[in-house]
Structures are given as structure tokens and as C-alpha cells.
């Protein structure tokens, strides 16, 4: 992160490596690190997931919880749909500079990014389905993310974890009925069914995008930058792509230098090209994670337990 200062010789080594397409840990420009994914980590939430990007138990680590709440409609709010509220917080245990007010800036940047990606129609979620009774009551989805460790590529891990959490989210069923009061006026009333079995997933969650961050280093760019690579990044661009291969959101960050327009369009094209692979990888990991879903392994701990996913 920002506090990491590299010597000129190290910077030169990284930049030249990237320009040759051979990175410090042997990856090519578009190779990504290992990802570990688990869902159902928080029992009180409607859906939750933890995602780690990095190998051998070290890496960027993010925990996301989704909590649904019923809100009463107030004048001025959208009449026929629910809302999504995002909040990202970087834990001071992740990096020393997050202590005190140090994390404020990055919290805002990441919250804005997440809001840009999943906060509206572009996320693929059907917000109309979150409406319970028009102009009366609707669902609010609170997406709270906690950054537990930072080793480069926070944005990507954040979107991965959020997508998994939203896919795992189950909303209780709501029964709406028409009641006629004493004066003979009919009005709608609703009841939240309190039954763990009687729940349903979010409509459109399968259309949620995944994001890839491209870091410009020297004259080339890389995806999934490590901590050291981020320290020499001149500019970065996060591109979110939906499973339908549409670009849903773009956010720039860490601009020491601007992007050349040609590089910008090249990056968006690359994002679309690699997205297919990303979704296949996500689906495989998510299916694996859903099998466990919050259960702890029965196997006894061994010396290399910390290598296990969480």
C-alpha cells in the first residue's frame, strides 16, 4: 500500500519485468493469483462470503455480509423498488496506515467503487423485486465489507466476495394481503414469514458482475497486482463486466499519470476477453464453497492447517 516505499533498483526490476511480461513471482501480465472463497461465514447475515486472493495462506482477505431490512417508504424515495447500501471498511489489523483516520480515504474510494458496481440497475439485480408494497414498504440490502488483509488487488477481491455474498443471500418470504378497516377503506398489509426453509434468493444475482483491476506499470499493464507492483503503479483502472459480457462500471484510481486513450480501449477489450475465464473460475469456486457453507471441517488440525481456506 501507500506506506510501502521501494528502492529505485527494486522499482526498475519490477517495471522491466512487467515490460517483458514476466513478473516477480513468475506470472505473466494477465495471470491471476489463487483465490479462496467461502460462503455462509456470518450466521446473523442474510448472506455472507469471505474471499482471499493470494497463495499459501497470505493475501488480500475480505469478508462481506449482506443484511436485509424492511424500510418504510418516505416521500421522495423511489416508489416501486428497493435499495442497496454499500459500506467498506479497512481494518487497522490489515495494515498499519489504516490505524485511526488513516483508512478514511480508501474506505470512501472502495465504498464508491462497490456502489458503482452493485448499487443500481447496472448490477443486474432486479431492484423492483425488492419492493414489498409500492409507496409503503421495501427491502434495503446493507452490504458491509471488511478488509482484513491487504496484499494488492483489494478491489477485485471486494467484488468477488460481494458477488458470492449476494448469490448466497436468502430473503424471507413476504405475504402481502389486503385488509379492509372499519371505515371500509382497503389497504395492503404485509407479513414477513419467519421460516428458515421458506426463503428465496435474490432475483438477478446471477447477472452480477466481476471486476478486474488493471495496473499500468511502465509501458505495460498487469491484472491482479501484488503489493510491490501496486507500489510502482502509475495508474489503475477497475473494470466490472457482467456475465452477459457487458461493461457495467469503470473506476480509475491511483493516478500518478493519465492513461493514453488507446491504452484505455485496449484495457476494456482485455477485460471483456478475460471475463469469461473469470466467471468460469468463480462458478467452480462458488459451487465448492456452497457445499461447505459455513460448516467447519471435521478433520483434525495439522501443521499446515493455516494453508486451508480460512
Amino acid at each position: 500500500m501507500a506506506s510501502l516505499i521501494l528502492s529505485p533498483a527494486e522499482q526498475d526490476f519490477i517495471i522491466r519485468g512487467v515490460e517483458k511480461g514476466f513478473r516477480g513471482d513468475g506470472r505473466g501480465s494477465l495471470d491471476r493469483r489463487e483465490v479462496t472463497l467461502r460462503t455462509g461465514m456470518i450466521s446473523q447475515a442474510n448472506g455472507s462470503a469471505r474471499c482471499r486472493i493470494g497463495s499459501l495462506g497470505v493475501g488480500t482477505d475480505i469478508l462481506v455480509g449482506v443484511k436485509a431490512e424492511v424500510n418504510t417508504w418516505a416521500a421522495g424515495e423511489p416508489e416501486e423498488c428497493g435499495t442497496i447500501v454499500c459500506n467498506v471498511e479497512c481494518s487497522p489489523s490489515a495494515a498499519q496506515e489504516f490505524e485511526g483516520r488513516g483508512a478514511d480515504e480508501i474506505n470512501v474510494e472502495l465504498t464508491q467503487l462497490l456502489d458503482r458496481i452493485v448499487g443500481g440497475e447496472q448490477s443486474g439485480l432486479d431492484l423492483r423485486k425488492l419492493c414489498i408494497i409500492p409507496r409503503q414498504a421495501y427491502w434495503v440490502l446493507h452490504i458491509d465489507a471488511l478488509v482484513l488483509d491487504v496484499k494488492g488487488g483489494v478491489a477485485d477481491a471486494l467484488v468477488w466476495a460481494t458477488r458470492a455474498a449476494l448469490l448466497a443471500t436468502k430473503l424471507p418470504r413476504v405475504v402481502v394481503e389486503s385488509v379492509t378497516d372499519d371505515s371500509g377503506v382497503a389497504r395492503a398489509e404485509f407479513d414477513v414469514v419467519d421460516d428458515a426453509e421458506d426463503q428465496m434468493g435474490l432475483e438477478g444475482a446471477r447477472d452480477l458482475p466481476l471486476a478486474a483491476t488493471f495496473n499500468q506499470i511502465g509501458r505495460r499493464y498487469v491484472v491482479d497486482a501484488s503489493e510491490q507492483e501496486e507500489a510502482v503503479t502509475q495508474a489503475k483502472l477497475t473494470v466490472a463486466v457482467s456475465p452477459k459480457m457487458e461493461i457495467c462500471a469503470i473506476q480509475k484510481g491511483g493516478m500518478l499519470k493519465g492513461f493514453a486513450p488507446s491504452l484505455l480501449s485496449e484495457i476494456t477489450q482485455t477485460a471483456l476477453r478475460i471475463a469469461k475465464e473469470e466467471f468460469a473460475r468463480f462458478d467452480a469456486l462458488f459451487a465448492e464453497a456452497s457445499k461447505h457453507n459455513g460448516e467447519l471441517d471435521e478433520e483434525p488440525s495439522t501443521g499446515s492447517t493455516f494453508l486451508e481456506p480460512f
Binding site: S7, P8, E10, D12, F13, K20, G24, E34, L56, L307
Partner: protein, 286 residues
């Protein structure tokens, strides 16, 4: 009879693994050492580690700890601040080490007192972020380490990449600078900071002493880059799987890794397999 009791105690107390708060002994005959605390007559562990006993002194050696320096240690540090007549150096310890302007060699090997003009151009020797290869010279009163680079082999590090490991995995040995047969130089800092770089013959620096403070890398070919990355990944996996990091273990890991692509070395199965391989070979050797 007394002797028997003694050996019983030894077996009970020593070579046990404890976690913070575990009771080590209720016996008042023992004295508490590092990594323990006493409450009334009981001695508890304050860290996670192995219990050790020297006569009546009970201490716990932690499994994980920060580097605590000793005079003569060879370390790698990163400059964090340029202060008056000194540099502050991050040495992976509880506090920053200090490198005095008077403890460095001037380019050209001139032997003289450092003047005010040297003080003004301290950043041309070492600037913030630079990595230094140094030796622990002495302690300051507050326990901070005083370093020196008064030898041609010490100085600024270039042509390679930096790896951090647990300091307790790097044993103190006769030599901490190794040229591996694969053409890579490694500096194993006892403080857990390791530098992996392209091999540059020592004579080259001796001929041109300006190179001691150079920031420019030499030309590094694709093959050399790959070998450096492979060694760095090997060190990383040895560290994660808690294997001693010495020139021998690194060479073993390197040889065993040759059948895999560099980027695959850090995947779980391959890493465990390689570390196991290195452990068996190390056991065979000893």
C-alpha cells in the same frame, strides 16, 4: 531419590508446547524467565512456544517473534528516514536500527572523517526505501541496533528482488552471502529480510567502487529473471511451510522445483510436496 525427582521435573516441564496463559508449573522452586509470567506461586506462559529449562530458570521460546539483534549479525534493512548524521533503518525488529554516517565507507574507499559536505549529500549514499546489507556493530542505550557497512561486501542492494520470512527460520551461520550454482546471489539477513539477485562478481565492485552506492541495475536477461523468480518463490514456500532457510535448503527446493513452472510453485499441493521433499533431504543429510 532426589535425582529421580529432578529428571521427572525435566521431562514434565521442558520440551512442552504451550499457548499464552497455559500453566507451566506450580512449583515455587522455579524462576520465571523470558516468555513467562508469575501469579502467586504459579508460572504461566505469555507466548505460544516451546518450554525450555536451564537449571531452575524456566523460559518459553516463542514460535513466532520479532527479530532481536545480536552484535555481529548480518542483516538486510530498509532505510526509513534520513536524519542528522544518521539513517533510520527498518530491520524487522521492535524498533528501527540506526546507521551512522561515520559507520559507512565512502565511495573510492577514502579513509577520512566525515565532513559537513558529506552530511549534506547523505541521500546520494542511501535514500528512503533503499535496501542495505549491513552488520550489527553495537547497541544504543535504548536497545536500538547500531549498524555498519564498513566492508566492500556490504552496502546498497540492487539487481534483484526482496523476500520477507520469519526471522527465526534463518539460523546464524558463518556466511550469509551465497552465490548459488544456478547463478543467483542471495543475502540471508538474520532478521528475516532476504535479497535475491543476479550474480555480480565481487571483483567488479572492487574495480569500480562507485558501484557501492549505485541505483542502476545491470542488464538482467530473461533466463536470469526466471531463476531469480524461482528462487524467490522457493524461499517464500519454505517460509510458509516452516522449513529452515539456509543455502542448502534453498538449493534443495530449487532442484526439486525444476519440474514445475515458476508461477505454479506457490499453489498449495506443489508447495507442500516441495517442502516435504526438502525436509526429507535435510534429514538424510544430517
Amino acid at each position: 531419590m532426589d535425582v529421580d525427582m529432578e529428571s521427572q521435573d525435566t521431562r514434565d516441564i521442558a520440551s512442552r508446547i504451550v499457548t499464552p496463559g497455559s500453566v507451566i508449573t506450580n512449583d515455587t522452586a522455579f524462576m520465571r524467565g523470558h516468555g513467562t509470567f508469575a501469579e502467586r506461586t504459579t508460572i504461566y506462559s505469555s507466548v505460544a512456544g516451546a518450554v525450555e529449562r536451564i537449571n531452575k530458570l524456566v523460559s518459553v521460546r516463542p514460535l513466532k517473534q520479532r527479530y532481536s539483534g545480536e552484535i555481529g549479525d548480518i542483516i538486510v534493512g530498509r532505510i526509513t528516514e534520513v536524519a542528522s548524521k544518521r539513517w533510520r533503518v527498518d530491520v524487522n525488529s521492535r524498533q528501527d536500527g540506526i546507521l551512522l554516517l561515520s559507520s559507512i565507507n565512502l565511495p573510492g574507499g577514502i579513509q577520512r572523517r566525515k565532513s559537513e559536505s558529506d552530511e549534506l549529500q547523505m541521500r546520494t549514499f542511501f535514500a528512503e526505501g533503499d535496501l542495505v546489507f549491513a552488520e550489527v556493530q553495537s547497541y544504543f542505550a535504548d536497545g536500538a541496533l547500531s549498524l555498519h557497512t564498513r566492508s566492500l561486501q556490504y552496502g546498497k542492494l540492487r539487481n534483484g528482488t526482496f523476500v520477507t520470512v520469519f526471522p527465526q527460520l534463518v539460523p546464524r551461520s558463518r556466511s550469509h552471502f551465497h552465490t548459488l550454482p544456478c547463478g543467483v546471489d542471495i543475502v540471508l539477513g538474520v532478521n528475516g529480510y532476504i535479497w535475491v539477485s543476479k550474480h555480480v562478481p565481487a571483483s567488479k565492485v572492487e574495480e569500480n567502487s562507485e558501484l557501492i552506492y549505485s541505483d542502476k541495475n545491470e542488464f538482467i536477461s530473461d533466463d536470469e529473471r526466471e531463476t531469480i523468480a524461482r528462487i524467490a518463490n522457493c524461499i517464500h514456500l519454505l517460509n510458509r511451510l516452516y522449513v529452515k532457510i539456509t543455502d542448502t535448503s534453498i538449493i534443495f527446493a530449487y532442484e526439486a522445483s525444476l519440474t514445475h513452472a515458476v508461477k505454479d510453485l506457490l499453489t498449495r499441493e506443489i508447495a507442500i510436496d516441495l517442502a516435504h521433499n526438502v525436509k526429507t533431504r535435510l534429514e538424510q543429510q544430517s
